[in-house]
Symmetry: C2
Subunit: 195 residues, 2 copies
DNA sequence: GTCTATAAAGGGATAGAC
DNA sequence: GTCTATCCCTTTATAGAC
């Protein structure tokens, strides 16, 4: 109908997600969010009862966006090793491209209370981690799949977590920021160990 | 010297470090720090010109405390593999016991500006990472030591980073929080890959 | 659905007494 | 070295007009 474009909840959330990812919950004010959206801070309270709720809904939106993606690398018909290789490369590329999501997740693991962590576990990791477990079992039934799954995830994520400081560490080369180089390193490590 | 016990800079820093580790820079107020110390907020400004400086000095104190420890696992006379095993177990135990330090470090990697990251790289990782590089070279000269060193560090740290959410993930057992179990898993993984 | 105005609380920081 | 008192700004959140 004749209504001009108005700001929806989803739009506000989409704009506040990168702010929270960059500066954390206490590091972002309602005024900053409002400025990013292009409205007054008071107007945010028409959409959300308080800052907490806005934040939780932002998390929900950010997380659900990624739930789907995760469940693709497992479908393809191939040997467990091939699937692992494919998964690692996809993860590396995805994590590199969506720094916002990775940072938000990291902050949640640092700061989230039990309820929020449960949300993260269910919504983001839920099926993904179950599939990871099964892949790990297929790779080697004698290894603890939970520990293996976390190790694989940790290998990928840590290489990107540490990016800001990496260039100050001995032995750094610019190629170490290349997702294909990292993926290849991780896959070989998982395949052969450090030999 | 009839002076009663007075609060020293070092004491204030020691009390503020866990606060910053728990809630981050913006999540902690000068009043909160003062309360933890048992003085008024204004008194903090006798010791430090501003909050930023207090924070940086807290980081310095927290980091330098750990610089020494790191350089022990490399001294012992043994095969590279033995040294790796020893290092991983020590790291796991250390990281488990000092959550504060781990969290502070994680927050710095998320939020630190270039200058603070340089401090972290030099003071905490500096020699440690150089020794790690050499150990990796000894383990296998054909592998990129920088990537290997980060992988080893990432494997250890991620298992502890993810602790708060681990119990919500499929396949969890309480033994997965045991540092010896984790260390053993990581060492075997590094030695043989996932086979 | 957004605005202006404003309340109420909390933040960093300073002045000056002791 | 710590206190009280205070300044000034920002923050979250509400009220009411449009």
């Amino acid at each position: 109908m004749g209504a001009e474009k108005q700001h929806t909840k989803a739009e506000i959330l989409a704009l506040s997600i990168p702010l929270f990812a960059d500066s954390g919950y206490t590091g972002v004010s309602m005024r900053q969010i409002a400025r990013a959206v292009g409205i007054q801070a008071a107007s945010l309270y028409y959409h959300f009862p308080d800052k907490q709720t806005l934040y939780i809904e932002a998390l929900n939106q950010a997380f659900s966006k990624h739930a789907d993606f995760m469940n693709e690398s497992f479908a393809l018909q191939a040997s467990p090793e091939e699937r692992l290789k494919h998964l690692i490369l996809r993860l590396c590329i995805q994590v590199l491209e969506d720094n916002t999501f990775r940072r938000l997740m990291q902050r949640e693991i640092l700061d989230g209370d039990e309820k929020r962590l449960q949300l993260l576990a269910d919504q983001v990791f839920g099926n993904f981690f179950k599939d990871m477990n099964e892949l790990c079992r297929a790779l080697n039934p004698n290894r603890d799949p939970h520990l293996m799954a976390i190790s694989i995830l940790g290998l990928v994520l840590y290489h990107f977590q540490i990016t800001p400081i990496r260039s100050f560490l001995p032995g750094f080369r610019t190629s170490h920021n290349n997702p294909e180089v990292i993926a290849d390193h991780i896959f070989t490590l998982l395949k052969n160990g450090c030999r």
